[in-house]
């Protein structure tokens, strides 16, 4: 009798080495003995110096960090395992204790493979044995991963982590294997269309699989766009020939030299290194730069080329590494948040774009995807919840529900994928897939008018969330029209602003009478300090209120709002500037905490803080107190509602 869960596990294993090297029966046998383990974010799977387990591990869902202890006992992530990656191989080879920490970087499900069951295969099947040896020798996990991913994922760069800088130039060159090739008699327009579709900067012209020429973006610009060769001409008329070829073993240093010598930025890789054999791949100058590590421009490009949600998730993990590096090197937060915002924004855009393509049905009318809350304010540094909404162009009454149905379908797809990438579903269902927040332009206007005039507590809360929207995708005229509408209905509505003010004061300055921190009184987070509720939100609420009062459009970032207010009210300049500073400081604080504890950084254990940090925090809270005093006086607001 087959165990159907084991069959399912065997199926998963069969996609990844070393298991892919085994046959179905062997896999099912192993799967039947697997232990399925669940780890919360931040939980240790094994620790350095711990005695080796009777298992090794493969990540089924989630991500696991492998960490080395740095000099000052600061753990440094040296590798990140995600779906299908094997780790913890040490016990297969040595009896000594683990050398690394393995820690769940996010909520993870891990399969533990018992050594006793697996060892016979490692010994009897030389391929399996070799794979494991190489994995182990590379100290991390998966020697195939670079090459392997290259094979699986079409035409995109591999962005590798922390390559050893010193040896960098002697490393083998990153080769793109899925290059675009055309025949010499291909029409130029067709070739250019292909390049644009595949988002590549070059095509190799082949005859009999052998390279006869290469055409790059530059050639098209120089020869075709200038009119020297008609667009209907053949690609062979514009190609560079002969092609500079090398064989696979080329190092980065050699490639750089060759490019300099010939003044080219692409090298073709063939089987034996001459133009007389089959094309195996292409190397571009850009790819060399890319392989040097993480940089935002590269990540951005990778996002725009990503062909799967899984790939976007991997990039998302790299964004976090980048973020960590930025914070360590003390780069100004405004700069960091701009970059991270752009990368997040590109991820959302790419996801929406892919979903539209998937639906296979053109969007019926123009629409705009709005990000709300922290992403809308460009303050989302760590993965937090997704809050979004959708507005579409007005359609005739009888078309309304049909149109909505299309956009709900789209939004369901998008939100689901964003969730996989790491933006968790909004627990209050404030997402575009909720029919309440997927509305036509006039429905939204009506909805906003309704919230502003009714303004009970729920409505005020909704206004606070929805007023900070930022367009992520689509037609900006729709969102502009919504912003205009908001300012129209708020004109002269002092009552609403007063209520908003009261709401902005609901979380008083977090310092108690004796200047001690106010911590949570009960519940799961007892005795922890809630930096979001007591630090960041009061400032965000204050900035929104004051900027609405001044009727300033299109600034949604809290510290930028305060900077603007400092210009508008020179007499309060100092306090606004202090607020802008505090807002950035608190977000930075939260982000650091979040990265350290692998969570959203919201709840802080005060005992973890240094004296210096505590003083810094207290200074921010003093600012909160002052801005709240200002609001209290200006809006005649009371704490009572």
């Amino acid at each position: 009798m087959k165990n159907s869960v084991a069959v399912r596990i065997a199926d998963f294993l069969s996609h990844f080495p070393p298991f892919s090297l085994l046959d179905q029966d062997q896999l099912e046998l192993i799967a039947g003995e697997v232990k399925v383990m669940y780890f919360e974010q931040g939980k240790m799977i094994f620790a350095k110096d711990e005695k080796v387990h009777d298992y090794f591990y493969i990540v089924q869902k989630g991500a696991v960090d492998l960490q080395k202890m740095g000099e000052n006992e600061d753990p440094e992530t040296i590798d990140k395992c995600d779906e299908g990656d094997v780790f913890g191989l040490r016990p297969l080879f040595a009896k000594e204790n683990y050398q690394l920490n393995a820690i769940a970087d996010e909520e993870s499900v891990v399969y533990a493979i018992p050594l006793e069951i697996f060892k016979p295969y490692a010994i009897s099947n030389p391929n399996v044995g070799n794979f494991l040896m190489e994995s182990f020798a590379s100290n991390a996990r998966n020697p195939y991963s670079e090459e392997y991913r290259g094979k699986l994922i079409a035409d995109e760069e591999d962005i590798s982590l922390n390559k050893k800088e010193a040896l960098f130039e002697l490393q083998p060159i990153p080769i793109i294997k899925k290059m675009v090739t055309v025949a010499p008699n291909t029409c130029i327009q067709k070739a250019a269309t292909l390049m644009s579709k595949k988002r590549v900067g070059s095509v190799i012209v082949v005859e009999d699989k052998k390279p006869v020429g290469i055409v790059t973006d530059v050639d098209i610009r120089e020869l075709v766009a200038t009119g020297r060769v008609p667009i209907s001409g053949m690609i062979s008329e514009v190609m560079n020939s002969p092609v500079i070829c090398y064989s696979k073993g080329l190092t980065i240093a050699q490639a750089q030299l060759t490019m300099m010598k010939h003044n080219i930025n692409h090298i073709c890789i063939t089987k034996d290194g001459t133009p007389n054999t089959k094309v195996k791949g292409i190397v571009s100058e850009h790819d060399i730069i890319v392989s040097q590590g993480n940089n935002p421009a590269v990540l951005m490009k990778a996002i725009n080329r990503a062909g799967s949600t899984k790939k976007l998730k991997k990039i998302r993990n790299k964004i976090n590494i980048l973020l960590n590096g930025y914070l360590r090197s003390n780069i100004p937060l405004s700069h960091i948040s701009n970059i991270v915002f752009e990368l997040n924004d590109a991820t959302i855009k790419r996801t929406i774009q892919r979903c539209i393509e998937k639906i296979d049905q053109p969007t019926p009318v123009k629409f705009a995807w709005m990000s709300l809350g922290s992403q809308g304010r460009k303050e989302q540094l760590l993965n937090t919840d997704q809050d979004n909404a959708l507005v579409f162009e007005d359609v005739p009454e009888e078309k309304l529900e049909e149109t909505r149905a299309y956009f709900l379908k789209l939004a369901t797809k998008v939100t689901k994928r964003l969730n996989i990438i790491g933006y968790e579903f909004c627990p209050a269902e404030m997402m575009a897939r909720n029919p309440k927040y997927c509305l036509s332009l006039s429905e939204w206007k009506e909805q906003f008018s309704d919230w502003v005039t009714t303004s009970g507590n729920d409505e005020i809360l909704l206004c606070q969330i929805f007023f900070d929207f930022d367009i992520s995708y689509g037609d900006v005229r729709l969102t502009n029209s919504l912003s205009d509408h908001i300012f129209d209905i708020l004109k002269g509505n002092r009552n609403f602003l007063n209520r908003l003010a009261a709401q902005a004061l609901r979380n008083p300055s977090p310092l108690g009478f004796f200047r001690q921190f106010l911590v949570e009184q009960d519940g799961e987070k007892k005795d922890l300090f809630d930096i979001k509720k007591r630090g960041i939100m009061p400032l965000t609420d204050a900035a929104r209120l004051l900027i609405l009062e001044h009727r300033v459009k299109n600034i949604s970032n809290t510290s930028e709002r305060f900077e603007k207010l400092a210009q508008l009210e020179p007499n309060n300049k100092e306090i606004y500037q202090a607020c802008a500073y505090s807002s950035r400081a608190l977000i930075k604080f939260r982000t650091k905490q979040g990265l350290k504890h692998k969570d959203n950084g919201r709840f802080i254990n005060l005992e973890d803080l240094s004296k210096e940090d505590k003083i810094k925090l207290k200074r921010c809270f003093k600012t909160i107190k002052e801005i709240q005093e200002l609001i209290k006086v200006r809006f005649e607001a009371t704490y009572y509602l």
Partner: protein, 224 residues
Amino acid sequence: MIGKWFKKKKVHDDLPYFWQNYASSFEEKLPEKISEVRFVVFDTETTGFDFEEDRILSIGAVRIENKSIEISDSFEVFLDQDRFNPDTVKIHGIIQNEKFEKISELGALKKFLNYIQNSVLVAHHAGFDIKMINKALSRNGLPKLKNKVLDTAVLYRKTRIITNFIDRDKVYSLDEIAEAYNIDLIDRHTASGDAYITALVFMKLLSRLKGHGPNLKDLLKIRK
């Protein structure tokens, strides 16, 4: 030990040995700490939703201890039933006379009781599965299940935030929860596949419900 056994025998004198064995496992107190408790997550596939008319076609279960599932220790039986309902075949795909190795209802119950012992039972919409099994037990002249029971549908609702913006009385299907928790739905509608998905959901729920307390009794207290 022998004394205990005799005492039990007095109560269940007329009942078969496997039931007595099952019943006596309850003399052992359940551990306090959730991490030490043995949970059995199970699911049944049935011919329909009528407790009198319909029959269990298969039972699948996995055991969770300290947030881990031993696959070798999972449970799966297919039952030989006279009743057959073509309408539900399209849901679970179990057709009559298929080449699964099938056993009698009594045989399946015997195996199941032996497997669960005094574990805490977990199922999605647990009420249905428990009642189905209790009906089967009673058809075979046996008393009801004695285990403590947790329902993942109820626990999930408890993890939803308290706000006026969502419908808190909504009943969540296993599919919806799995999607929210990013669990792949491959073997839906086989008893073991569903039990396995429910088990993953349950482990994720446990970490989200930590705030309710570290002990089993805190978990058992969670009601609608």
